[in-house]
């Protein structure tokens, strides 16, 4: 039995208490809905795969010192030794680690000349073992041959003749072609230097997780004659941790270099997305505490209003209200307040989202979040008021005949 009319009219005579709860619900909803949306957005970002065999891959740096340090010889020896270790699937020298936060990018363009715009692409310098070590799938064209690999000097600026790009990059460069048709096309790096696309790989992310062109990557067939270099090693499942130790000890045998910076890709992912993970945890805490605060506020005010209306409840009971009638009175009253709160809340939610969209890089909210938020907050209100309402039903009908 609903008695909306009288409940509503009675509410209007006690506006302030009701308004306070409604506004509180509105602000809570604005925060919670936006927070949930951001959590969803960030967790989607965090889940994006990098394209490499993350669980079984690690990398390590080697920096030679002294004038007599033989760079080329050391790299060749190192790679041979590492690749020969049991449990190693493959190992390469590489200039940058996907999703690690540091690396280098270039622009590729389909027409030569400075007047044409290039498309940003992350550069990975690898040899013919690159595809296997990075666990990439070659979906068109062919891998580099051993003879394609050249040495790049410490301040080298010229580019090799071949390049392998990701499917995403191929589509950006040649939007009208299928990715396999991009094989054999010439693209230009540094405005004018030609490179022929000889292969397409399925997926490989750039080093910068916040970059707009995250899925644009290219493999350049090179080894680097740098004092400081980095090896990336892919192992069979379960062998990574053990091999990390083995490889570190192996490299450290050469005393004219410093070996450090050994990390797993799991670590890199954790570190690169730490901001997101932290944000998700903080916002979850905010949602939980805010829900508690608002619920406790509703409980507090509802208990107070039950106490204040003890006599009235007794009268209603005397006039024939069942316990269920009393319960529903408070539930309906709370529903009316919550409902007006969530309507205001919808407006505030959109306003806060617009603020976040305009000032910070937060995407606009999907409408169903608002709807779900309205529903959830009404439910929270109902749950919070249930306790005090239940207590109200315990008020004896005989209260009516007691002179207070």
């Amino acid at each position: 039995m609903l008695e909306l009319g009288p409940i509503f009219r009675a509410l209007l005579r006690n506006k302030i208490g009701a308004i306070l709860i409604a506004v509180q619900i509105a602000f809570t909803m604005a925060i919670i809905v936006n927070a949930v949306f951001i959590i969803y957005d960030r967790s989607q970002q965090t889940k994006r795969p990098s394209g490499i065999d993350e669980a079984n891959t690690f990398f390590i740096s080697s920096s030679g010192f002294g004038d007599d340090f033989d760079i080329k010889g050391t790299i060749t020896q190192d790679l041979e030794a590492i690749r020969a270790l049991p449990g190693v699937i493959d190992a390469i020298q590489i200039n940058a680690i996907p999703i690690s936060g540091s690396g280098s990018s270039m622009g590729l363009q389909t027409k030569p000349g400075a007047e044409h715009d290039g498309t940003g692409v992350a550069v990975y310098m690898v040899d013919e073992h690159g595809i296997k070590a990075l666990d990439l799938e070659l979906i068109a064209g062919e891998n580099f041959a051993k003879s394609d690999i050249r040495w790049r000097g410490p301040a080298g600026s010229k580019w090799p003749a071949k390049v392998i790009v990701t499917e995403a990059m191929a589509k950006r460069l040649f939007p009208d072609l299928s990715y396999s048709e991009a094989v054999g096309k010439t693209v230009y790096i540094n405005d004018v230097e030609p490179m022929i696309i000889t292969g397409i790989i399925d997926k490989l992310q750039a080093p910068w997780v916040g970059w707009d062109n995250l899925d644009n990557a290219m493999l350049s067939p090179e080894k680097m004659e740098f004092q400081s270099t980095r090896y990336l090693i892919r192992t069979v499942p379960g062998m990574r941790d053990q091999l990390m130790k083995t490889v570190e000890e192996l490299l450290a045998e050469n005393k004219s270099r410093v070996v450090d910076g050994m990390r797993s890709i799991d670590y890199v992912r954790e570190r690169s997305y730490r901001g997101n993970t932290a944000m998700i945890k903080i916002l979850t805490t905010v949602i939980v505490t805010l829900t508690i605060v608002t619920s406790l506020g509703i409980v507090g005010l509802a208990s107070f209003s039950v106490n204040r209306r003890k006599k009235q409840i007794g009268i209603r009971r005397a006039l024939g209200a069942t316990k269920a009638d009393i319960l529903s009175y408070f539930m309906v009253e709370n529903f009316l307040i919550s409902a007006s709160g969530v309507v205001l809340g919808a407006v505030l939610t959109v306003a806060l989202n617009m603020l976040l969209v305009s000032a910070l890089s937060i995407p606009p909210l999907d409408w169903f979040y608002i709807l779900a938020g309205m529903l959830v907050l009404c439910l929270v209100g109902q749950a919070a008021v249930f306790g005090p309402a239940k207590k109200a039903t315990e008020i004896a009908p005989a209260t009516a005949t007691r002179t207070v």
């Binding site: 208490g17 509180q24 004038d67 000097g153 410490p154 450090d260 730490r274 107070f304 910070l360």
Partner: protein
């Protein structure tokens, strides 16, 4: 009377422990959340060098690609300089003081064979780095300008590195092997962690200060590697280190000290003249776009305060609003619940003003208790931030006296504000109606 009201406030708080706890808890949460985010934002946007921030200027000239602006959105000139421009501008010595710098790195091989060789971050800089940025010295000092031009191999160590190599002894005059070369130690810095690390924000605004300082011009002779951000709009003309330095790649920063408006406009004029001269040599294909920005302007331009931090702060303010609305509601419930007591007080002679005072003091007491609890929560919150974000925020999570005082003040003000309406309602309770039986 004040003491009496405070006593009454505590009595009243004790009388309704649950309601009082709810209010203190709500304020504490609101204050705790706000203080945590305000602290992080406050430290991110702190003035790292308050005495000089208006005299130190970051220098930008637009040497970028004729077809594309360095920054499409803002149209700002590049955020670093080319080797050529850095040296030309420095050699002109047109400012009161000027410093060139760049990030590099190398291997240190300690004499003590018990310590393994290790890699260090190098800050290449010119002599005025130390006096311009007021770096504190533990031993020795920086180097003078003659050292820069004579390409002497000297080094200033940070305290951390001095501790590692020399066990914290005064190492001035001793030698270290760095990047395969012999360097003489001239100074050891005391602990120095500017927040933000304003002198080079584009390589991590909250990173640690580099390990060692070495004269800038040694980069060329020793071919020290280019660390930090390198951006090029076209590749060097040929292979090799020299070609890189001659190229349009930017990796270098310059700060100048300009003491007044006149010096600033003179310096901008000098920059314009320099760019015109370079244009005649075929460089600087873009329209004239030179800039000098003082410390705080530069911090803002580089968006040192993270978006996430700003967002958290806004959200925490809304959180505080919810908590305050909560408190208003609960206070209202409490004060109206005390109607008969208030009516009685009014009947036996309390004026409206006195009832007002009594209740506003009660609100303030609750606010203060909430504020104190909130500060403790903020400490906890900052610990939480540290554990979530790790090293990145280690300089951003200390709650200083100003922040603690601000927190208490916010708690006090907001609780008094929250108490206003309930108190007003309490004052307007008519003595007569409350004494009649209901």
């Amino acid at each position: 009377m004040f003491g009496y009201y405070v006593k009454l406030a505590f009595k009243s708080i004790k009388k309704n422990p649950l309601l009082s706890f709810l209010m203190v808890f709500a304020i504490a949460l609101g204050i705790g959340a706000s203080m945590t985010t305000i602290t992080v934002n406050y430290l991110m946007s702190a003035n790292p060098i308050p005495d000089k921030s208006e005299q130190l200027f970051y220098v930008q000239v637009d040497s970028w690609d004729p077809h594309n602006a360095f920054n499409d959105e803002s149209g700002d000139p590049p955020n670093q300089l080319t080797w050529t421009d850095a040296n030309n501008l420095f050699d002109a010595q047109k400012a009161v003081k000027q410093v060139l710098m760049a990030k590099s790195g190398g291997i240190v091989v300690p004499e003590d064979k018990n310590i393994n060789p290790f890699e260090v971050q190098i800050r290449l800089s010119t002599a005025d780095f130390f006096p311009m940025f007021d770096t504190p010295f533990l031993f020795g000092s920086g180097w003078d300008m003659a050292v820069d031009s004579k390409l002497e191999q000297v080094v200033v160590l940070t305290k951390k590195i001095n501790d590692k190599i020399f066990g914290g002894e005064n190492s001035v005059g001793r030698n270290i092997t760095l990047a395969g070369q012999n360097f003489k130690v001239v100074g050891v810095l005391d602990s120095w962690e500017p927040v933000p690390k304003f002198y080079d924000v584009n390589n991590g605004a909250f990173d640690e200060v580099e390990d060692v300082f070495v004269p800038f011009k040694l980069k060329e002779t020793l071919e020290l590697p280019s660390w930090g951000n390198v951006n090029c709009w076209k590749s060097p003309d040929s292979e090799g280190f020299k070609a890189f330095l001659r190229s349009e790649c930017i990796n270098f920063q310059m700060w100048v000290q300009l003491d007044n408006q006149e010096q600033q406009s003179d310096y901008l004029m000098f920059l314009d003249n320099y760019v015109s001269e370079q244009k005649s040599l075929g460089r600087f294909p873009r329209p004239m776009n030179n800039k000098v920005s003082d410390v705080m302007t530069w911090m803002e331009n580089q968006q040192v305060v993270e978006d996430d931090a700003k967002m958290m702060m806004w959200m925490s303010f809304m959180f505080l609003i919810v908590c305050l609305l909560n408190t208003v509601g609960l206070l209202l419930a409490k004060f109206i619940g005390k109607s008969s007591e208030i009516g009685l007080r009014r009947a036996i002679g309390a004026s409206k003003g006195q009832v007002f005072q009594q209740h506003i003091i009660e609100s303030a007491t609750i606010g203060l208790l909430g504020g104190i609890a909130g500060l403790l929560l903020a400490l906890l919150g900052l610990k939480g931030i540290e554990s979530l974000y790790g090293d990145f925020v280690k300089n951003l999570i200390s709650l200083d006296f100003t922040m603690a005082a601000t927190g208490l003040l916010i708690a006090l003000l907001s609780s008094v504000l929250a108490g206003l309406y309930p108190t007003w309602r309490a004052c307007n309770i008519q003595p007569a109606t409350q004494l009649k039986s209901q």
